[in-house]
Amino acid sequence: MKIVVCVKQVPDAKDVRLDPKTNTLAREGVESIMNPYDRHALEEAVRLKEKVGGTVVALSMGPPQAGEVLREAVACGADEAVLVSDRAFAGADTWATSYTLARAVRKVGFDLVICGKQAIDGDTAQVGPGLACRLDIPYVTCVRAVTGVDGDKLELQRLMDDGYDELEMPLPGLFTVVREINEPRVPSLKGKMRARKIEITTLSGGDIDADPACLGLAGSPTQVVKVFSPQFNRDKTMICGEVEAQVEELVAVLEKLV
């Protein structure tokens, strides 16, 4: 089975805070990382390969430095690495990204595509379904377990708001994963050595025969017109003093409110 895993390099947003004085992003020490959900997508691909055989191709769309996450993917078990990179891709929204990725994935060839359910920078969760739509293949989002692999179909559990669905998806197909699907492995020494040496295949817009009108900002139906910092203001009362006094005052507040 040839499995393509889409991985994205993102800024590690979780510890970013607003500077209370300037009300701007304080991003000192914020590194670029592999999107955490994609780590689980990769792990699931490697597990499937270990079970039924095949190849795992890690594919990333991004600037040249996104090659770092591809090497990391190889260290964690991917066999091949493909970087889809072109200045013309800058500013792509999820529609243009889905288009670009679909051209690249088609070029690479696949039986199965696995993505993280969303990337932590945009949090849209739109690219997985968009990519499947562009590839004209069935898809399942938010998969929490692969319960069966049977030649030309997969049995999947999809997390829903009120429980879960058990589904059967024919191949070729695509699914996106939630974190609980697996515990990603740490890179092996052998993997790390392979990652250092691996030749990353780079595909440009021309290599994937992309229509320039569908790429980047020009190909994006959505456009950002304003960016601002969120404001949360509240009148605040600090409850001070010894623990016993704090507890008494807190209980009084709770009894008033609840």
Binding site: R17, G62, A90, Q126, P129, M169, Q223, E255, V258
Partner: protein, 394 residues
């Protein structure tokens, strides 16, 4: 691409400090954009010298926008129940429809929908488009997307809203791709722009660190998924009148490549967080699963729900269904008690609409205190057991 006016640029470095992608550097007193610039535009607004701009002129395939009219809301119905966000969207959609002077249409897909259209009308819909078929009894991306796509092509609404639920976030992107329409995920604000009637869609990004307002200048419909519990439903008014329309669907469009074998409603996947008045929430400061038990104990005493920050969920102390924040649930209870939670913006975004926020944290500089109504600087392991004992005594 990002244009830098080298005459105007003062090399002050504000753009460098604030670029979430680390794509701008100041070299020899001039800002320089790197290949990893994502054209997000946050620097453009921040630049005090007005030296930065993004060329947006060359965009988009042309669509005759005037052919598209009306506001549509996808009113999600599953397992015999209307999703609460459906009524919230009708509240938001009503306001947009009135601003535009157009009708508000609810789109209802499923099976066994009998009296649901009346409920939708009483909450603000002028029209309800109903596709009631056995093949739609269970949710599948293929059938739901096909039907919705066909209905949109038939009637050409200018705006389509859906809840940012598991279902909405799954099939709406397919509809948008099929229609080549712009889709904005997880919106928390929707307004009509006065000048041209365009939909201004505001959403958090970067874990909530940035808010972005997005438009679809050249494509229709303008599509958004909307975060649950942000918009307000209108009170039910049984005297409202509306039209219920049965939509005929080509049977070929009702089939799905993915088969539903079983659909399991699971209590353990559910949380009552969005229905309770009090939410007690714990974070990294609880140290371990045992520490987290204090949260459940206090919540039980107050008749409230148990929530957690991402740190607590990632540590495995509690299930994901209890996570509040950008990548979890949004809650707005009367009282939210944050214990040992630092208040990272990605958490705050999921609870800042709570009426009263009580924060307990050892670190007096924790950002959670910036949004607290009541703040207690102290050790949760000293405070919580005493509060629990006091409440038990009463």
């Amino acid at each position: 691409m990002l244009k830098i006016d080298t005459d105007a640029c003062t090399g002050c470095g504000i753009c460098e400090d604030n670029c979430a992608f680390g794509a701008i550097t100041v070299e020899d007193g001039q800002a320089v954009a790197g290949d990893n610039c994502a054209l997000c535009g946050s620097c453009v607004d921040l630049c005090e010298a007005g030296a930065l701009s993004i060329d947006k002129a060359s965009t988009g395939p042309g669509t005759d926008l005037s052919l598209w009219s009306g506001i549509w809301v996808y009113t999600e119905f599953r397992h015999g129940r209307l999703a609460p966000v459906a009524l919230e969207l009708l509240g938001a959609g009503r306001r947009l429809a009135d601003d535009r002077g157009v009708p508000l249409t609810a789109v209802l897909l499923g099976h066994g929908l009998e009296t649901v259209p009346e409920t939708l009308i009483s909450h603000g819909a002028d029209r309800v488009l109903v596709a009631d078929y056995p093949q739609l009894a269970e949710f599948t991306d293929d059938a739901y997307a096909n039907v919705f796509e066909d209905l949109i092509n038939r009637e050409r609404p200018e705006v389509v809203l859906a809840g940012a639920t598991a279902i909405g976030r799954s099939f709406i992107p397919r509809v948008a791709n099929k229609l080549s329409a712009g889709l904005t995920a997880d919106c928390t604000g929707l307004e009509i722009r006065k000048e041209d009637g365009a939909l201004l869609q505001t959403r958090p990004a970067f874990g909530g660190n940035i808010m972005a307002t997005i438009v679809c200048p050249h494509s229709r419909p303008q599509m958004s998924t909307v975060r649950p519990l942000v918009m307000k439903p209108l009170p039910a008014d049984a005297s409202r009148k509306g039209e219920v329309i049965t939509a005929g669907i080509d049977p070929a469009r009702l089939s799905s490549r993915v088969k539903v074998i079983n659909s399991v409603s699971s209590e353990s996947e559910k949380s009552n967080l969005q229905e309770v008045d009090v939410v007690v929430s714990g974070g990294r400061g609880l140290n371990d699963e045992e520490g987290f038990a204090l949260i459940s104990e206090l919540a039980e005493l107050l008749g409230g729900g148990v929530a957690a920050s991402r740190a607590a969920v990632d540590s495995g102390w509690i299930k994901y269904s209890h996570q509040v924040g950008q990548t979890g649930k949004t809650v707005s209870p009367k009282v939210y008690i944050a214990c040992g939670i630092s208040g990272a913006i990605q958490h705050v975004i999921g609870m800042q609409a709570s009426d009263t926020v009580i924060a307990i944290n050892r670190d007096e500089n924790a950002p959670i205190f910036d949004i607290a109504t009541y703040g207690l600087v102290g050790d949760v392991f000293e405070i919580l057991p005493r509060v629990i004992a006091r409440l038990r005594r009463d």
